[in-house]
Amino acid sequence: MTLLTINGKDISVVADPETPLLWVVRDELGMTGAKFGCGAALCGACTVHVDGEPTRACVTPISALKDKSITSPEGLQGKVADAVRAAWIKLDVAQCGYCQSGQIMAAAALLTATPEPTETEIDDAMSGNICRCATYVRIRSAIHSASTALKA
């Protein structure tokens, strides 16, 4: 048994401690917001927050998450999350959509730490998240849009 804190709830899971968090949330807890894309921390589709930091769930064993606060895409909430999602919807960012919960997790973490990011800061925060539909132009615009909305 491993005790995890996910989306504010304490949950004990039976999976082997070396199991990556991704498969615990998806297969054991039925939360499929974090996606499987590469299994090697190369694409960002599985991004969750661990103590607020964007983290690749596909390579993070649950044994490393004791006493940490985990947020999955389903549990992402608050002012920044609302602004990011609203910007995504306003700019019709998603195409296939498979990578977008990871993109949104990365963008929300960026705007929480850096409410008015420069282009370079956006590049640095987002370049680990691949989008094969190449919605990158709109993701960039949506981050700026969310940043502006948060200032208001």
Binding site: C38, C43, I89, V93, Q95
Partner: protein, 732 residues
Amino acid sequence: MFVMDHKSRAAIAKAANVDRRGFLKLSLGTGAGLVIGVYGAARPDGAKAAASDVAVFNPFVRVTPDNKVIVLSKHLDKGQGTASGLATLVADELDADWSQMAAEFAPADAALYKNLFFGVQGTGGSTAMANSFDQYRNAGATARAMLVAAASAKWSSPADKISISKGVVTDGTNSATFGELAVEAAKRPVPKSVTLKDPKDFVFIGKSFPRLDQVAKTTAQPIFTQDIQLDGMLVAVIARPPKFGATVKSVDATATKAIKGVVDVVTIPQGVAVLAKGTWPAMQGRDALKVEWDDSKAETRGTDELLAEYRKLAEGPGLSVRKDGDAAQALASADKVVEAEFIFPFLAHATMEPMNCVMLFKDDACTIWTGSQMPTVDQSITAAILGLRPEAVTIHTQWAGGSFGRRAVYNSDYVAETAALVKAYGKPVPIKVVWTRPDDIKGGYYRPMYLHKVKAGLNKDGTIAGWQHRIVGQSILSGTPFESMAVKDGIDDSSVEGASNSPYTIANFELDVHNTKVGVPPLWWRSVGHTHTAYVMETMIDELAVLAGKDPVAFRLDLLKNSPRHAAVLQLAADKAGWGTAPLPAGTARGVAVHESFKTFVAQVAEVRMLDGQPKVDRVVCAVDCGLAINPDNIVAQMQGGIGYGLGAVLKSKVTLKGGEVEQANFDDYEVLRFNEMPAVEVHIVPSSAPPTGVGEPGTPPIGPAVANAVAQLTGQRIRALPFSQNTIGGA
């Protein structure tokens, strides 16, 4: 475009067991898919339960009691926006309100839902809007007429006094929603003919309404095959042979079976499947397998050997595709001649959602959940493998995490292996087959490797004297059920399209092709043959322009006098980019390309500088003529996406083989475009009332040559072996 012919049941059954074949048989299917709208998504089971009180107007339009209009999309939406586009056509004729529109995927039923260009149910070739435009407008107009008839009867008002706006039906005194009228309206006789709107009255077409799937995709809803979880479901990860065409010789599953969660290990024709209670144990179990492969029928050549063979073939003539005038003679007396060899690597599609399929085989019936791009093919092949009639196979099509061609497979590869597995396992539990990223990158079905050899020359006056062009590579369609309509006299149009129909007026033009036999399964990849032909045509034309001392845009325009739509997008892109007028920072150059694919015309001007020895594209100005623009913002999105997809490939992507084995495995060695590499994109749409054509693919072909032409200006170097990253450029 192609239309499939029918084959007998016996042929279908036989084909299903053999690689690179397909099938096809019309069938009657039912089964509700996933309804998705601006309000979010419901699971398939909810949709099924709702079926009894949903008013069915026709195969494409349903109205729910709570006033939602559900449009059944016969096409898979894998990001290109088709489901919302089809809903737009219905909404316009229906005079609906956008907030009430929803989309759901149609069941597998070719009689009702065939692609009118293919003859079977399937999505591809950027045909979705073009083949559906009248059909879905008719569906909307028919439903509208039935709503009006129901209102007329209910209120005893003449039909011509009834109007509809924003989803409200009124005769001036009474008013009702679609939902209130739907049950009665759906019982009205279906009008034999309806008058479609005059384009000047369009409410939705030509404007940009938000995608119906946007909210679900932004709020992490479980809408993908990967998200399907069913009671008692097992997850399977399959060990496939490292060399294409190899088969299982022996299996030692001792270590696998010791892993907690592993349920069984099953050998199928495609490999060895590890069945487990979850994805992680299935993956671990697969890694622990010891499989000995029989390589006796496997492809064992590497990229280097293939290239050497392609070069040898290119020395002699292939099958003649086009011969205008006498190019050899013209080149012999030309003033200046350029000879060039181009090399294009195998490319994986690398969809964000790796391939997957959920299947339940129980009580002589089969249910499939997958992002089915060719439902007729998937259904028929599954039926043949399981010994069922096609109508006993139900497909619940899921929103797909990308395709770029990968999910439209002539042999339904990943659906077929799931069928083989449920059959071999033999227990009535749902099985989800999951491909990992290495499975995807190593799994074949690539854009084939091609070699082009071109010799082109100029006359003294700077006009083109002659052009000899040879293409060497695999035919995508030979040996598949699509062969009979796409391959003529041994020439697969998908190997030569974009060169064979070049719009440039060249008096002496020769094109031939060598079809190579390689054991690596080929497949269409966003824009198919145009992925390589556009690169060659547009960089060679550019080189000739420079050699002639002419402006590359003006040089092309001179040769496009018989192709006004090419010329118009080229001129528009050049004007908007400030071609030849707007100043650029030092070290930045503009490159241009224009190309038509799938009847859509696209020109792009790329602004490029060199950074650490590789091109950095800062901005792309794109002009597109796709006929009537149904949803301009979606056209912009598809141009942006097509540019990003093509740019990543030309800059960085390649699949190479050594001893027949793929050398790449994941996004660290199969590199794709990342966020910081995406240029700003400015899209200009040519106003048009011509019939609408597709936008999913045509944005991709021009970007590579546009960038290459800019790099040539910056460095003097013509990059002819892709990707760029394997070239040393500018002496760096």
